[in-house]
């Protein structure tokens, strides 16, 4: 059994489905159903979040092993089992998913007025899939969750999205699916090669050098689309612009992390030689992503699109960090992922606040918001500064560590990442100036109300987290330090063994 004494991870994973079932069974007129659906979804996600806090409390930070493990026979003769567990790399992502979901449900409280029941069901199913994906320790189980995320997200974008929602939903679905099916072939090869899909067991077996290259590119096809890396990032701006606010929050906050998590969990440990060989390729793609998408972001006129491009840039920094393959770079990448999950989610919520009131995301539509909505402007500024990488706020720690790690590998890569940070300051401050400052040119803006109590409740935890991560990052870093050290050590050992074998 595990530290908690009961199947905690499965409970956290599948409890949202129970909530979805309850919502499904609600009968009555539309008003009653909508109200019940909202409250049920909120309470379910809150209970799930509270349960997942046990992970935070009981996680043994001094061990790199998988914890809270659960194993069930599923297809024993094929070496496939239901295996769940978290280590330092994944535990915080489980928490990130469970923390963002109730906030998303709160954020959609009034913004979603039609088909509330289906919306809440989709969100709860989405939560199950996200948590399951981060907790899965069997490759097939992982793939099932990884792909299944597409179904609720497709519906969220397509049903509750903006005017071009159909295009965006299809693009999102097909892009991601195309990448994933190639990964499926690689998984099948590994399965056949090792006779098992159990991830810890797969780590123990070396993949033949000749196959590593192909598997690396198959994984890359899947994870690069998810991250997303340049040049396969084009689905992201479309999906973000069209998705409802909460959909964007989950997309930026958690779904983008799935690709980077895949690199960390699979590519690095399973394919050490191919990783070392192709790291320069990833660096080039990432630096291009950081610089290019930052420049693109400068030219955007839609707030959501701007933040979407900034996400691509931030995730470029993450992939640089991952492929530095040293302690600082990997820790920085993990920290940036978490920080970006909180900050970019919050930024999308900020856009959502304005969008709910004015129904426009066009930057030029606004101006002088700070004068009418001072509290909002304050919150928005905090997250803008965090996104820029201001010391004392969340993103700084991660990006700084990545640059330190990258410098050890190649100063030019560090230079590219740093350029991204400078440009990031440019587009974020430019955005903030155009929205918040200046003269109020439109009369309807004068009528705007400042943040409502519900919105305060949504933003408060995110503000606390952003400050916490910036001021005392150690309480987060300590979770994954040991796991990252083990990962680096194993990678170097594998490379050493390969070199010996080659001599």
């Amino acid at each position: 059994m595990n530290a908690a004494g009961f199947p905690l991870l499965s409970l956290v994973t599948f409890l949202p489905l129970a909530g979805a079932l309850i919502i499904m069974s609600v009968r009555g007129d539309e008003e009653v159903v909508a109200r019940n659906a909202r409250w049920t979804a909120l309470w379910t996600s809150l209970i799930v979040f509270l349960l997942s806090l046990i992970l935070w409390a009981r996680f043994d930070q001094s061990s790199a092993a998988f914890q809270f493990e659960e194993k069930l026979a599923w297809l024993p003769e094929f070496g496939v089992g239901y295996h769940m567990g978290v280590d330092g790399i994944s535990v915080l992502f489980v928490l990130l998913s469970t923390a963002l979901t109730p906030l998303c449900i709160l954020a959609s409280w009034e913004a979603i007025g039609t088909r509330v029941r289906e919306y809440m069901i989709a969100f709860l199913v989405l939560e199950t899939m996200m948590v399951g994906m981060f907790a899965a320790l069997d490759f097939i189980v992982f793939y099932v969750f990884f792909e299944a995320v597409l179904i609720p997200m497709f519906l969220i974008i397509g049903v509750w999205g903006g005017p071009r929602r159909v295009y965006a939903a299809f693009k999102f679905f097909l892009y991601t699916l195309l990448g994933s099916v190639l990964m499926l072939l690689a998984i099948l090869y590994l399965w056949y090669n090792a006779g098992t899909t159990d991830i810890p067991e797969l780590f123990a077996q070396a993949v033949p050098r000749s196959a590593q290259t192909w598997i690396f590119f198959a994984f890359l096809a899947s994870f690069a689309v998810k991250v997303p890396m340049w040049p396969v990032h084009t689905w992201l701006p479309d999906a973000h612009v069209e998705a409802p606010t909460a959909g964007s929050v989950i997309l930026a906050g958690v779904l983008l992390k799935m690709g980077a998590y895949g690199f960390l969990r699979f590519t690095l440990p399973l394919l050490p030689e191919a990783t070392a060989t192709f790291a320069p390729l990833i660096f080039v793609l990432s630096v291009v992503a950081v610089v290019y998408t930052s420049l693109v972001a400068l030219a955007q006129e839609d707030m959501k699109k701007l933040i979407a491009y900034s996400s691509v840039a931030h995730m470029g920094i993450v992939t640089i960090g991952i492929f530095t393959l040293n302690q600082q770079g990997l820790s920085g990448a993990l920290f940036t992922m978490l920080a970006h999950g909180v900050v970019s989610g919050a930024l999308f919520l900020c856009v959502g606040v304005l969008y709910d009131r004015v129904h426009s995301r066009e930057i030029l539509r606004y101006g002088g918001v700070a004068g009418i909505m001072p509290a909002y402007a304050m919150v928005f500024m905090l997250f803008t500064m965090a996104s820029v990488g201001l010391p004392g706020l969340a993103n700084f720690v991660g990006e700084f560590l990545v640059i330190v790690g990258a410098w050890k590998v190649n100063p030019w890569v560090a230079f590219g990442a740093a350029t991204g940070m400078v440009l990031g300051a440019g587009y974020m401050l430019y955005l903030y100036r155009r929205v918040s400052f200046g003269k109020i040119t439109r009369d309807d803006l004068r009528m705007l109300l400042d943040l409502s109590p519900r919105e305060y409740v949504v933003f408060a935890p995110l503000i606390v987290l952003t400050l916490w991560m910036g001021i005392y990052p150690q309480s987060f870093l300590s979770f994954f330090e040991v796991s990252v050290a083990a990962l680096v050590q194993r990678h170097e050992a594998a490379l050493g063994a390969a070199r010996l074998a080659g001599m």
Binding site: V144, F154, R165, F173, L188
Partner: protein
Amino acid sequence: MIWTLALPELVLAVSGLVILAAGVIPKRETFFPVSMACVGALLLAAMLVLGQAEGTALGGHYVSDAFSGFMKFLALSAAAVGILLSLDFNEREGTARFEFPVLMLFATLGAMVMISANDLLSLYLGLELLSLPLYVLAAFNRDNGRSAEAGLKYFVLGALASGLLLYGSSLVYGFAGTTNFDRLGEAFSEPNGISAGVIVGVVFVITGLAFKVSAVPFHMWTPDVYEGAPTPVTAFFASAPKVAAIALLARVLLGPFGDLVAQWQQVIVLVSLGSMILGAFAAIGQRNLKRLMAYSSIGHVGYALMGLAVGSDIGLRGLLVYMAIYVFMNLGTFAVLVSMRRAGRSVEGIEDLAGLGRTDPVTAMWMAVFMFSMAGIPPLAGFFGKLYVFLAAVQGAFWTLAVVGVLTSVVSAYYYLRIVKVMYFDAPIGNLDRAPTSLTMVMAGTGLFTAFFALWPAPMLAAAQAAAAALLG
């Protein structure tokens, strides 16, 4: 001559004759009771199949093993569901005649004979017993031009395929000197037992069977027949006969022609590739749901044949699991199609589903489950079907098949998603009629199977494993 081994077939044949007689005698229309009796007979036969002993009978013409048991059970349950689908539809279309379920019953009997065939002659006998009722069923709505056209087309092309099969069989017989599968296998295992004539014969046999499973390049009849035939008949076409033909193809190629694997493998690989590619691309432009499902079935046959092309026990297991899953999700999809009526009139355009997510959320949910499953999205059953055939392809190092397979599955995801899009993203254009209870039950049953297959896949896999082992020895 142990004829008791063939008890399921005998019971089904006798009950078919009895039901036919009982249906004729009363003065009033006996469609509903006869249908129920046929469902009962099919289920009885299915129970008997489960308890069937193994061995050969009837002078070596008939074989019973785990493989035949698996496929027969599948065909029988699919046929029973097929009759359920037709109950309400036939009443409303004015084609509620008692011959309808009886024809389905005899077609299923033919399918069972095919599955158990251990001789080229019993193979042909079963195939014809399957095909003749199907020709009639396709044209069952005889006052409708499209239905009559479908029946005629199916008959002409089906007769051609039967001719090819018969020609191939005669070539094989001429060169090998026997029609019994066991002795054919022995003859081909000798070093100089394989001659050019035999290979030509095998190719003809494959051609005849590829026609029945509607694999490229012998698929041309499928869209027209699927579209023209009454919808429950189309549902039936895509289930029991397809299972039987796939089973027969597997038995013939892996049994007597198992030593010719190098010769037929490339044929099956090409057929599989062609079917997957055509099924993915040709369906994109379709506006009629039944036509779309026809192309989709061509694609699915391509995936199933991938398992056969590999020729290993893992490949065969993948094929069996794929067919089992496909049959049920396909029946569920057709349950939705059969239920589509607007003001009493049957409709079958994709746009007729517009806004179904609002007007009939339950039906829309099942349809979405089937569509995502057909597209191969986990955790639905269709994904696991694909998983096992892809696993076989990867293990056998058939990389072209595997890569083309996953890429075409992405292409085909587009048109399945389009149906989901029409149901959920588009505004409703008037309500569809409420689905009758028989159909909602079929939808719920197959839908639950499709959605929750992942929870407990072990029994089906074990059964498929045993069936594959029985065939490959």
